[in-house]
C-alpha cells in the first residue's frame, strides 16, 4: 500500500501575496426589510462575485481577502433592490474608501463624497412581481367618460320632447333657427374640410352679434368650395 490514496496536491502558491483586506459591512433594516431572514440567499458581491460574503443573522457581512484595487460592491438579492458602491481598497492597514455609485455611470472620476466604513447598506425597494387583476366593477364601468356620455345622451333623448313642450314659444323659435344652422354646418363639414366648418361657425357667431351674416357666410362657403376643388 503506497501513498496513492492520499492524493495530496500541494497548492502552495508561489505568487507574491498581495496585501489583502477584510471588508466589513452591515445590512440595515428599514420599512422595506423588517427581518434579515427576508433576504433569503442574498450575497454581497464585489465585481463579478469572485469575492463575496454572505449575510449573517445580524445583518453583518465579511468579504475576506480583498486585494488592493477598485471594486463595485453590490448586493445580489432576489427580492430587494440595493444601491451599489464603489470601494477602493488601498492596503491591508488603511480603511477602504467607500463611495456611492450609480449603475451604468462611469466609474471614473469617483464621487467626491466618502461614505462611512464599515459600509451600511439599506434596502431601497422591495420588488413587486405581480400586478393586481382587473375585475368587473359596475361603478368603474359607469364612471368611464364614454359611458357617462352615453347615459347622458340616452337620458337627454328621452327627456328632450318633454323639455321642448315645456319651453316657451320664443325660445322655441330661436332654438329651431339654431338647429337649422347647426344642420347647415354639419352639411359643410360633410362635404368640405374642417376649416369651412369652423368658418361657418364663425359666421354664425357674427350673425348673432351683428347682422353681417349675408356678407361673410357666402365668402366662407366659397372658400370652402375652392378648397374642395383644389383637392
Amino acid at each position: 500500500m503506497a501513498w496513492s490514496p492520499l492524493l495530496f496536491i500541494l497548492l502552495y502558491s508561489l505568487l507574491v501575496v498581495t496585501p489583502a483586506f477584510e471588508l466589513l459591512g452591515k445590512i440595515q433594516l428599514n420599512d422595506f426589510l423588517l427581518d434579515i431572514e427576508g433576504l433569503r440567499n442574498s450575497k454581497i458581491i464585489l465585481d463579478n462575485g469572485k469575492m463575496q460574503g454572505r449575510i449573517m443573522h445580524d445583518g453583518n457581512f465579511v468579504i475576506p481577502d480583498v486585494p488592493a484595487g477598485t471594486y463595485i460592491l453590490s448586493v445580489s438579492s432576489p427580492d430587494y433592490s440595493f444601491d451599489q458602491y464603489r470601494v477602493d481598497v488601498v492596503d491591508s492597514q488603511t480603511e477602504p474608501e467607500v463611495r456611492s455609485y450609480a449603475s451604468g455611470t462611469s466609474l471614473n472620476p469617483p464621487s467626491a463624497v466618502l461614505l462611512a466604513y464599515p459600509i451600511a447598506i439599506t434596502p431601497r425597494q422591495k420588488h413587486v412581481y405581480f400586478v393586481p387583476p382587473e375585475s368587473f366593477n359596475l361603478v368603474a364601468m359607469f364612471s368611464n367618460p364614454m359611458m357617462l356620455l352615453m347615459v347622458f345622451g340616452g337620458v337627454m333623448m328621452l327627456a328632450m320632447p318633454y323639455l321642448m313642450n315645456n319651453m316657451e314659444h320664443e325660445t322655441m323659435n330661436e332654438l329651431k333657427e339654431q338647429q337649422a344652422r347647426v344642420a347647415g354646418m354639419q352639411g359643410a363639414i360633410t362635404n368640405g374640410s374642417s376649416k369651412s366648418g369652423v368658418s361657418t361657425m364663425n359666421g354664425e357667431e357674427l350673425l348673432d352679434s351683428g347682422g353681417q351674416h349675408s356678407k361673410n357666410s357666402p365668402s366662407a362657403k366659397s372658400r370652402g368650395n375652392n378648397r374642395n376643388k383644389k383637392r
Binding site: L11, N48, R54, S76, N108, G154
Partner: protein, 1046 residues
C-alpha cells in the same frame, strides 16, 4: 392638406405608442402562481461516500431534521415528516462542501480548498450565524477525498468549535462570534503527517492523524491544552493500518468517559485510551478474524461496527463509562443477503440503534435487522422487511436511520438509491420519496401530446334494434351534462384561457389540452434514469431505469448525451413502425462500463408511457434478456460499439433519423432501414458539420466536415474534413452552440422610411465561443519572460457558417481575471445575444460590469439589399455579405443560462429568457434589445418602428421576473417550446431546481384577454336591446306626427 395627413399619421403613431407602454400589464397575477407555473425545489443527490456529508437525522428538542450535503454542492435540511426542504444553502462551485458537523442547535460546515471557510448555521431555521475565512483558498491543500483532513468538533456546551483545516491546523473558534482563541499548526506543514480527527475531552484536545511509514500508515496523536492550545504531548502509536481513511476511528462517550482510538490492523482490532500524557497501552480485541471496522456515525456514543471475514458483524463499543471495548451485539451471518449496509441512529435518550440493511433475493425485498443496545442485558434484534421497489429505484445505496425510544423500536430508515432517490421508510411503510436524481438532469426535451381520441364503438352490423337503442342511450348519457356546460359557458364566458391550469382535465391516456400547454418533458439524468414529467404540474408521469446491458455484470454507468424527438405528434406514421401513431423519443447515451469499455446505446422510448418501442434482440444471451425483462429496465439498443463524437437529428422528407458519428467519423443511422438509408444518401452531399480537433501543440481548433461514401473501403459513410477555422494564437475552442431552429415568419424588417433590411437567415450558422488556450506557455501563471511577448488572452464570440467555415461575425471579449471566459450566447434566426463580464474600467466613461450585446445580421451591405440568404448556397460570394448591427447594454446581474422564446409560426416576437445569479428567471423584451435603438430622441419614422431611445442599462424589471418569489437555484439550461397558441411559449428551466412557466411575449393576442368581460358585453347588448324596444314605439309615433304636421 399636408397638415391634415401629418395630423392623422401622428395620431396613428401615438396609438402604437400607447400600446408600447401597455405590455406592463403582461406581468403575472398573483392568482396565477402555481397555476401557470410550477417549481420543483431539489437539493441534489447526497454525498453518501463519507460520514461528514452523508444524510443524518438530527434532533433538537422535539423537532428533528435530516441534514445532508449533496453532489450539487448544497447543504440542506429536510423535514423527516413529509420530505419537504426546511432550508438549503447552495454553495458556489469553487466553494465545495467538505463536510458538515452538528452539535445541538448548530451545524458547522467547512468548504473550499483545504476547508478555507467555516460557516455555522442554526439547525432548524438555517440562519447563517457565522461565516469565517480560515485561510485563503490559494493556500489550501486539495485533498481527495475532499473531506479528508478537515474536521469540526464542538466543546460540550457548543460555545467553541475546534476546527481542523488543511490537515494540519487546529483553531479554537467561538462558534457564534467567530473570535479565534488560538491556532495550533504542526510545525512542519509539509511533513507527511495528516491529521483527520479531533476529539474533545475536559483535560485535552486530541488531534489524531496518520503518518506514512514504509508499507502502511502509523497513527499519530497530539494532545493540546484546551485553554491555550499548547502541546501537552505528541506521540506515534505502534500501529500499522492499511487504509488511512477508514482504517481507524475515535470513540468518545459521555464527558466522564475517556476517549479512545480504535484501529484495524491485520485482522484484529486494537485500541488505546487517550490520556493527556498519551501513554501507549494497546488493547487488542480477540474475537474471530475481522475484515474491517466501520464508523456508522455513532462514534460519539462510543459505538462502531466490526465486520467479520465470514460476513457476520458485531456492534462494538464501550458502555457505562467503562473504558475498553466489548461486543454489544451481533448480526449473524445470512446466506440470503446481498451487500449489507450498516447504519446507526440514536433516539431521544441517546440510545443507539444499529441496523444492517440488505437486499434479500429470496423474498425480493430489502431487509433491515435492527439491534438496540438499550442496556447490557436487553439486546433486542428486530427484523423489518422493506418492500423496496428495485425496478424503479435501482439498488440500495446509502442507509441512515433514526430510533425512537418512546414507541419501542419503531425506526425510521432513510434509504438512498442508485438512481438518486431518497426514501424514508417507517418500519416497512414508505413515507415519502424525493427524486433527487432530477438535480443531475443532463438532457431534457419537450414532447407535444396527441389530441384526445374520441373512441367510438361501431356495431358490427348484427346489432339488434333494442341493443342499438340501449347503446345510443348509453352514448347520450353525457348529453345533459354537455348541455348544462354549454349553457353555462355561453352565459358566463368561462372558456379555456391561456392562464388556466393545463392539467384541469386529468385525461387518461395523456392528451393535449385546448391550447397545447400540457406536454411531457422527458429528462434523462446522470443516475441512469429517464423521467416523463407533466408540464402542467411537474408531476412525474413515469420513470424508467436505463439498463446496463452486458455491462450489468461488470458494473458501469449510463451517461445521457442527446435526446431527440424522432417523431412528433404531427409527423406521418412510418411504415412498419412498432410505436404506433404517438410521439417517440430517442435518447443517445454512452455506457461506460467499469472495465473501461465505452459503448453508445440508444433508448427508443414512448414519451407518454415510458415504454420501450424498439429494443435489442438478445438472442445470444437468453439469460440476460430474461433478467432485464424481469427487472423492467430499459434495455436500449447498442448502436455503436465505441464512443460517439457527435449525434444529430436529421429530418429528410417524411422521416426523422438520428445520425451518429463514431470516433473514426463513420456514420451510423437510427433507425437503420432502407428508407432512412435512401433518405440519408439523398442528402449526404449537403451535410456539413463542425467538429473540434486538437492540433499538435495542444490547441483546440474547429474543423468542418462532410460525409462521403467510398464503397471500396467501407459500406458506411465516412466524414472527411473540408475546412479548418484558424483561431488566433492562444485561443481555444470552448463551446459550439447551434442556432435555435424555428420557423421565421418574415424575412425582412420594414423600416420607418419604407425601406427594408433583409434578415441574414443562413440556416448553417452556429455560434463558437473561444477561451484562452489553457495548455499554452502563456497560461502557466508566470508573468512572462522578457523578450517573449505573451499572446494577449481573449475570449471570442464567432458566428461561423458550417459549410465552408466563413466567419460571419466576430467579437473579442476581455477574459475574467485574465484567464477564464464566462460568455453565454444564444443565436436565433438572425439575432445573436451574448453576455460577458467586462472589468476594464480605467478609460473614460467606462465601468465594470456585465454586458449584454445584441447583434442582428442583415443581408448585403445595407438597406434594400436582398441576397436570399436563407436559400443561398454558402459557396456563393454574396453569402459573406453581412451587415451586422449591434448594441451593448449593461446588465445588472450575472447569468447562468439564456434562451429565446419559440412559437409555432414565429410571428410573435422572440423575448430573451435569462436565468440570473440571483436565482430568478427573467424575460427581457425584444424591443429593449433592438440594436437599432437610437442614441437620441426618436424621430417619427423611428417611432413607427417602435424604437425606443437607447439607454445603457437594461434595468431590472420585477414585473418581468417569471419566477417571482421562487428561488430557481443554479439554473443551467433553459428550453422553450411552442404551444398551439401562436402567442404563447413554454419555458422549462433545469439545473438544480426545475421550473416551468408560460410566456406570451406579445401578449396573448390570439385569445380573448383575461380582462375580457363577457358579463359586461352581455349586459351592454341587452341594455341596448331594451332601449331599442323601449324607444321604438316612441320613434314611430314621432315619425307619424312629423308626417302629419310637416
Amino acid at each position: 392638406m399636408r397638415s391634415l395627413r401629418n395630423c392623422i399619421s401622428s395620431l396613428l403613431l401615438v396609438v402604437p405608442l400607447f400600446l408600447l407602454y401597455l405590455p406592463q400589464v403582461q406581468a403575472l397575477h398573483e392568482s396565477d402562481v402555481g397555476v401557470v407555473d410550477w417549481h420543483k425545489e431539489l437539493i441534489g443527490v447526497p454525498l453518501a461516500g463519507a460520514l461528514a456529508t452523508a444524510p443524518i437525522f438530527h434532533r433538537v428538542g422535539e423537532t428533528s431534521v435530516i441534514l445532508t450535503a449533496t453532489g450539487n454542492n448544497v447543504l440542506a435540511a429536510l423535514n423527516p415528516g413529509n420530505g419537504s426542504i426546511v432550508w438549503r444553502h447552495v454553495h458556489e462551485a469553487e466553494d465545495r462542501i467538505a463536510g458538515f458537523y452538528k452539535h445541538g442547535n448548530l451545524v458547522a460546515t467547512l468548504s473550499g480548498p483545504g476547508g478555507s471557510t467555516l460557516r455555522t448555521y442554526d439547525v432548524l431555521k438555517g440562519t447563517l450565524m457565522l461565516e469565517k475565512r480560515l485561510h485563503s483558498p490559494e493556500s489550501g491543500h486539495l485533498s481527495e477525498p475532499h473531506h479528508f483532513g478537515k474536521f469540526v468538533t464542538f466543546s460540550p456546551d457548543g460555545q467553541y468549535a475546534y476546527v481542523l483545516t488543511n490537515g494540519h491546523t487546529i483553531s479554537k473558534i467561538n462558534s457564534l462570534t467567530g473570535k479565534v482563541d488560538w491556532i495550533w499548526s504542526s510545525e512542519d506543514k509539509t511533513s507527511l503527517i495528516i491529521y483527520s480527527k479531533v476529539v474533545v475531552a475536559p483535560t485535552a484536545i486530541y488531534v489524531i492523524g496518520v503518518s506514512k511509514s514504509i508499507a502502511s500508515f502509523t497513527l499519530h496523536a497530539v494532545a493540546l491544552s484546551p485553554v491555550e492550545g499548547d502541546i501537552l504531548s505528541t506521540r506515534d502509536f505502534p500501529s500499522s493500518i492499511s487504509d488511512a481513511f477508514t482504517g481507524f476511528l475515535t470513540l468518545s462517550g459521555s464527558i466522564t468517559t475517556a476517549p479512545q482510538v480504535v484501529w484495524f490492523e491485520e485482522g484484529s482490532i486494537k485500541s488505546i485510551v487517550l490520556t493527556a500524557i498519551l501513554n501507549v497501552k494497546v488493547t487488542t480485541v480477540n474475537h474471530s478474524k475481522f475484515e474491517r471496522i466501520l464508523d456508522v456515525g455513532v462514534s460519539g456514543q462510543a459505538h462502531f461496527v466490526a465486520v467479520h471475514t465470514d460476513g457476520s458483524a458485531r456492534v462494538m463499543g464501550s458502555q457505562f463509562d467503562r473504558p475498553g471495548l466489548k461486543s454489544l451485539g451481533e448480526f449473524t451471518k445470512s446466506n440470503d443477503m446481498v451487500e449489507p449496509i450498516y447504519a446507526a441512529g440514536v433516539d431521544e435518550h441517546d440510545q443507539v440503534y444499529v441496523s444492517r440493511v440488505y437486499w434479500a433475493p429470496s423474498i425480493m425485498k430489502a431487509k433491515a435487522d435492527v439491534l438496540s443496545t438499550r442496556s447490557a442485558t436487553e439486546k433486542s434484534l428486530t427484523s423489518i422487511e422493506i418492500p423496496f421497489d428495485t425496478r424503479t429505484h435501482g439498488i440500495l445505496g446509502h442507509v441512515t436511520m433514526d430510533g425512537s425510544a418512546s414507541s419501542g423500536t419503531v425506526v425510521r430508515t432513510l434509504i438512498m438509491t442508485s438512481t438518486g432517490a431518497i426514501q424514508l421508510w417507517k418500519r416497512g411503510d414508505l413515507q415519502w420519496t424525493r427524486e433527487e436524481g432530477l438535480a443531475a438532469t443532463v438532457v431534457a426535451e419537450f414532447v407535444e401530446l396527441p389530441e384526445q381520441v374520441q373512441t367510438s364503438v361501431r356495431g358490427d352490423g348484427e346489432e339488434s334494434f333494442l341493443s342499438r337503442v340501449v347503446r345510443q342511450i348509453g352514448d347520450a348519457q353525457n348529453f345533459p351534462q354537455y348541455l348544462v356546460n354549454f349553457a353555462r359557458r355561453f352565459a358566463t364566458g368561462s372558456y379555456a384561457s391561456p392562464s388556466s391550469p393545463a392539467t384541469a382535465s386529468s385525461s387518461e391516456p395523456l392528451a393535449r389540452d385546448t391550447f397545447g400547454l400540457r406536454q411531457v418533458v422527458v429528462a434523462a439524468t446522470l443516475f441512469g434514469k429517464v423521467y416523463g414529467i407533466d408540464s402542467g404540474n411537474g408531476n412525474i408521469l413515469w420513470s424508467r431505469v436505463m439498463g446496463l446491458g452486458w455491462a450489468g455484470e461488470v458494473g458501469g454507468q449510463i451517461q445521457p448525451m442527446k435526446l431527440f424527438v424522432i417523431k412528433a405528434v404531427g409527423d406521418p406514421d412510418r411504415p412498419n413502425d412498432e410505436g404506433g401513431s404517438g410521439p417517440q423519443v430517442a435518447l443517445v447515451a454512452q455506457r461506460r462500463a467499469d472495465n473501461s469499455l465505452v459503448d453508445t446505446v440508444l433508448f427508443h422510448i414512448d414519451p407518454l408511457t415510458g415504454e420501450e418501442i424498439a429494443r435489442q434482440v438478445r438472442d445470444d444471451d437468453e439469460e440476460l434478456k430474461q433478467l432485464t425483462e424481469e427487472e423492467n429496465v430499459l434495455q436500449g439498443i447498442d448502436v455503436v460499439s465505441g464512443p460517439v463524437v457527435e449525434a444529430y437529428l436529421m429530418a429528410a422528407g417524411d422521416s426523422k433519423m438520428v445520425v451518429m458519428l463514431d470516433e473514426y467519423l463513420q456514420v451510423y443511422l437510427y433507425p437503420d432501414n432502407p428508407t432512412t438509408k435512401a433518405a440519408f444518401a439523398k442528402h449526404a452531399s449537403t451535410l456539413h458539420f463542425p467538429l473540434r480537433a486538437n492540433t499538435p501543440n495542444g490547441q483546440r481548433r474547429l474543423v468542418g466536415h462532410q460525409v462521403a461514401l467510398n464503397p471500396s473501403l467501407s459500406d458506411r459513410y465516412v466524414g472527411y474534413s473540408t475546412w479548418t477555422l484558424s483561431l488566433p494564437e492562444g485561443e481555444d475552442v470552448k463551446t459550439i452552440i447551434p442556432a435555435a431552429k424555428g420557423p421565421v415568419a418574415s424575412i425582412g424588417k420594414v423600416l420607418g422610411n419604407r425601406t427594408t433590411l433583409y434578415k441574414y437567415l443562413n440556416p448553417r450558422l452556429f455560434v463558437l465561443l473561444t477561451a484562452p488556450h489553457s495548455a499554452g506557455p502563456a497560461a502557466s501563471g508566470s508573468t512572462g519572460k522578457k523578450g517573449e511577448k505573451p499572446a494577449p488572452k481573449t475570449c471570442g464570440v464567432y458566428i461561423v457558417d458550417s459549410a465552408k467555415g466563413t466567419v460571419v461575425y466576430r467579437a473579442t471579449l476581455p477574459p475574467v481575471d485574465g484567464i477564464s471566459c464566462d460568455v453565454k450566447a444564444v443565436l436565433a434566426d438572425n439575432w445573436l445575444v451574448y453576455h460577458y463580464y467586462d472589468d476594464e474600467f480605467s478609460g473614460e466613461g467606462k465601468t465594470k460590469g456585465w454586458k449584454m450585446v445584441s447583434v442582428e445580421l442583415y443581408e448585403g451591405k445595407g438597406i434594400d439589399e436582398k441576397t436570399m440568404s436563407s436559400d443561398m448556397s454558402s459557396f456563393k460570394r454574396e453569402s459573406a455579405d453581412v451587415l451586422s448591427i449591434e448594441q451593448s447594454y449593461i446588465f445588472p446581474h450575472a447569468i447562468t443560462a439564456l434562451a429565446t422564446t419559440s412559437t409555432k409560426f414565429g410571428i410573435t416576437t422572440k423575448d430573451l429568457i435569462v436565468a440570473t445569479q440571483t436565482d430568478q428567471i427573467q424575460s427581457i423584451h425584444r424591443r429593449l434589445l433592438n440594436p437599432r435603438r437610437p442614441n437620441r430622441k426618436v424621430t417619427a419614422e423611428e417611432q413607427e418602428e417602435f424604437l425606443i431611445p437607447y439607454e445603457p442599462v437594461l434595468f431590472y424589471d420585477p414585473k418581468r421576473v417569471l419566477s417571482h418569489g421562487y428561488q430557481v437555484a443554479n439554473a443551467q439550461r433553459i428550453i422553450t417550446t411552442p404551444t398551439v397558441l401562436e402567442s404563447t411559449s413554454l419555458v422549462f428551466v433545469y439545473g438544480l431546481d426545475m421550473f416551468l412557466t408560460r410566456v406570451a411575449p406579445s401578449n396573448t393576442f390570439d385569445v380573448l384577454s383575461e380582462n375580457f368581460n363577457k358579463v359586461q358585453l352581455v349586459l351592454t347588448v341587452s341594455a341596448l336591446a331594451a332601449a331599442i324596444i323601449f324607444t321604438k314605439p316612441m320613434v314611430r309615433r314621432k315619425r307619424l306626427r312629423e308626417k302629419w304636421y310637416q
